[in-house]
Symmetry: C2
Subunit: 204 residues, 2 copies
Amino acid sequence: MQFASKLIEEAVTEISRLPGIGKKTALRLVLFLLKEEKAITQALSHALQNMRENIRYCDVCHNISDTPICTICTGHRRDQSIICVVEDIPDILAIENTAQYNGLYHVLGGIISPMEGMGPGELNIESLVNRIATANPAVQEIIFALSPTMEGDTTAFYLTKKLKAFALKTSTIARGIPIGGELEYTDEITLGRSILSRIAYDGK
Amino acid sequence: MQFASKLIEEAVTEISRLPGIGKKTALRLVLFLLKEEKAITQALSHALQNMRENIRYCDVCHNISDTPICTICTGHRRDQSIICVVEDIPDILAIENTAQYNGLYHVLGGIISPMEGMGPGELNIESLVNRIATANPAVQEIIFALSPTMEGDTTAFYLTKKLKAFALKTSTIARGIPIGGELEYTDEITLGRSILSRIAYDGK
């Protein structure tokens, strides 16, 4: 694509670095900003820079936070005895949106994946162990909410071994057919798993 | 959606003002920027601001330009006797990408639309008339490349009347079935028009 202006070209190049945004979409966004007031562009670029420069992470759970310890970790109504281990920050948002969980979180910042050179050393595992060791009141349950992939299972397995000494209840979120999904079109691995992990009607 | 940080919330709000980008996509972009180096965010916000602050438009055709007169208007290989009238800047890019046109352009900056309060006074029509009146070498042909809508047709009609005195050749880009389109699935108005505007095989 040929642009009539270096300024446009630079803006398009920078915007199209973002995931899922190609040159055409980037150009559409640029032309939108040109049509709007200057203040819109100023507010946008200021918000981005401010966010990137000043963002902080919770010292305890590594979630995004404006304070040294995040509002979930300090929440009085939060059940301090359960920690849900997630791969990354969007997972917390997804779980919070379900309104079905009231415990704490721990963000690993990734998942064990030798293919991508991601070992346990790169993840927030030490801080999880320390946290459980020093928690008061004591942590009683760990829920692994990791991706249902080999990497996710490996990470859960590694952590289970690592946390053995604490004699905690550990579990993983259920895998099965999604609600609203059609049995007929569910892949055989998921369907097979959902039979093996069937849930008895007495709730156990 | 609840965010753990005001900074994230502000950035998401600003990004989701952009067309076609909702809160979820905005959050994905924000989390991407957080994972990447700070330099990426800096370059992005700098490019946006620089573009918005310093953008200029060609004095002649109103296209985007880094110089007072754009590279198309000053192009030595451009046919100065034809002007293609378009609604907005992306239209120029679209036509340039076809590599089928070698004349000049004129950006109206909109289209006559009483419904949206867009009258001829809001458009770059005076400058088109002046341009044709003073052009040297003289302009001989005007092509209207406007949307095939009632507003587009109205605008072309208005301009044709306005330019009558100059005794120019005027034309509109062809409307018909798109190349690669299926006759069967073409809407009846387009198909009807394409029969009325049929093109004889001798090329006339």
